[in-house]
Symmetry: C2
Subunit: 354 residues, 2 copies
DNA sequence: TTGTACGCGTTATCAA
DNA sequence: TTGATAACGCGTACAA
């Protein structure tokens, strides 16, 4: 006694019956199995089409023990950089026939553990962790190491690391980016260079230390002046700029573009001109850095590529069983108005820094 | 003959055996079924813990015919506005125990269909479409209407709509926002107001028409001057600003903040001062609008709330079987420097528009 | 309160 | 080339 009002879902068996074949044959015909006669294949496909058959991937996954689903753990979907990474990851995965489950962990280790557990429960074929703060060894107990790609790892253990990176790691060459920024500033006449960081993440320390080291390498003596904004900053741009005003450096390198742009606003609020009174450098290369006023000099990181590469590497690991060797992506310093040499006319700069 | 090297996954049966109960009892103990003795419950939980049991949600979903998974179809994860929506959606869903599969369709109807099919195959309990361009009636053939929430629908059919919105729709009150922007501009002395749009989306036409109507309502005669940028714009900020330079309006209302900020840059490039030579208004209220130079007057839409509400409404629809009535969220005009009345000093403005 | 046995929808094995 | 049947891992109706 079937209920006419409740549209029962069309199953493989229904297709098989309509095409006068067994479920096994129908399954093979639809999955493109080689050893099926042309006649039956077309008739099965036709039946599936007419009945609007939609396969149940859960049942399939249960049977074949693969889900063609990837887990992506990231900090925050609303952040411009992570949005880029997520976008690239989703695109690459989609093009290769994989779905993505996203979980944002908001810099909370408890949430990161929860996310990895969710992925395990869903039987994702692999997991990528972006900017994770979990101890790598712990992460590997919650996700199988050979199916785990780590992008921009941000745990303390990355700090003192020397020598080759372990397989499955993808990150940008932040040190080189910072070095390029420092050299650029010095070349443009900025000597007293300070660092403005945010939060307690390892990446912040990495960049700060890279600034200090680069300055030393360039023969600048004395300790690096370093300022800090809280991670969950409620500070306004004005308060952030106030960090510096006691004794203005020639230039500041900021942890990221977001911070640098907020800083630009705060400096303007306080009547400090950029770059004439102080130079400002950002990090990330978000789109707004290119159209701020003044336009922001920044170390551009390939965020979208990071996501695409992560997905590609993960899928490769899944399909070959081999975790790809670590990848370090180059970054690029893009010089714009915010570090223009002092005394150069505005009009000329507009031409020089398109 | 079990293989010691291959770590076989722990199953419910393993937990049951370790706790000396049947699978049924183990299942009930772990799912918090009432009629289970305290003793057995604790011993089952202990066994599950020790064995590091991870339930297979695929098998569970197959059995209970619910996946606790939601499908979110959006335009582009890397876009600031959609990132906010996605973030709110993921948060709300996560807090209520639902996972999210994201698919970006990049304004391509073919991709939108593909995404809805993916959701169907995965048996998502419900689907939310953000800024979809698919014909609503077609969408309902690809996703069950009573489990479908539509956020900011962007199909032509929304254009001529009058009367109440259908259930399951969530959108912002763009018309009121535009009206507020127009009134604000007029109050600040801008009379010759133009519109700068992007692409061919319905929402673009909605905002343009709202500008025209508001102007008429305010007694401004003559047709609205309207400019347009392609959707896949490769235009630089300079080219975008060039649209206007022949005959500069007093002010422009832009389709969104991104466009407005690019416009600000282009105007600066051409030596046109904002707001002294021309006022600029954006739409969306992305974070950068608050710190641009000049800071951007904009119609702030609650993007994060949009995502949270969508998830909440969808889950409610799933759990009660009732599609919630349409929701129209209010927007808010935030006046900043880019529409400061001409002739008002900068310092004063900084105080007046924090 | 607990156990037995079946079924969710698909693919894979084996035999024909 | 095709068909019958057994799994995949879990929840639950029914029986005890």
């Amino acid at each position: 006694m079937s209920d006419e009002t409740e549209a029962r879902r069309v199953l493989l068996g229904d297709v098989a019956r309509a095409a006068n074949v067994s479920k096994a044959t129908a399954s093979r015909a639809l999955s493109g199995d080689g050893r099926i006669s042309f006649r039956t294949r077309t008739s099965v496909i036709k039946a599936a089409d007419e009945l609007r058959y939609v396969p149940n991937v859960l049942a399939r996954s249960l049977r074949v023990r693969r889900t063609r689903t990837l887990g992506l753990l990231l900090v925050d979907l609303s952040d411009p950089v992570h949005g880029q990474v997520a976008s690239g990851f989703e695109q690459e995965a989609g093009e290769r026939g994989y779905r993505v489950i996203f979980v944002a962990a908001l810099n909370d280790p408890v949430e990161e553990r929860r996310a990895l557990k969710i992925f395990a429960e869903h039987g994702t074929d692999g997991v990528t962790v972006v900017s994770g703060i979990l101890d790598p060894s712990e992460a590997q107990t919650l996700a199988p190491r050979e199916r785990l790609i780590v992008v921009q790892p941000d745990h303390r253990s990355m700090l003192r690391r020397r020598g080759p990176l372990p397989a499955g790691v993808i990150q940008t060459d932040d040190e080189s980016g910072v070095e390029a920024a420092v050299k650029h500033l010095l070349a443009n006449g900025f000597r007293d260079i300070a660092y403005v960081g945010r939060g307690t993440r390892a990446s912040n320390a990495v960049r700060r230390d890279a600034v200090a080291r680069s300055l030393k390498d360039e023969g600048i003596r004395g300790p690096l002046r370093s300022f800090k904004v809280a991670d969950d900053a409620q500070q306004t741009s004005d308060q952030i700029a106030a960090l510096l005003t006691e004794d203005l450096p020639d230039a500041v390198i900021c942890y990221d573009d977001m911070l640098a742009l907020v800083m630009l606003d705060g400096l303007r609020e306080r009547g400090i001109r950029v770059p004439d009174d102080m130079g400002v450098v950002g990090f990330d290369g978000i789109p707004f850095a290119a159209i701020s006023n003044p336009r922001l000099t920044t170390v551009v990181t390939p965020s979208n590529d990071l996501g695409r590469l992560a997905a590609a590497s993960l899928i490769s690991a899944i399909e070959t069983g081999e975790l790809p060797p670590a990848i370090v992506l180059p970054v690029e310093l893009v010089a714009r108005e915010s570090t223009r040499p002092r005394g150069v006319a505005v009009a000329a700069a507009a031409v020089a820094h398109p």
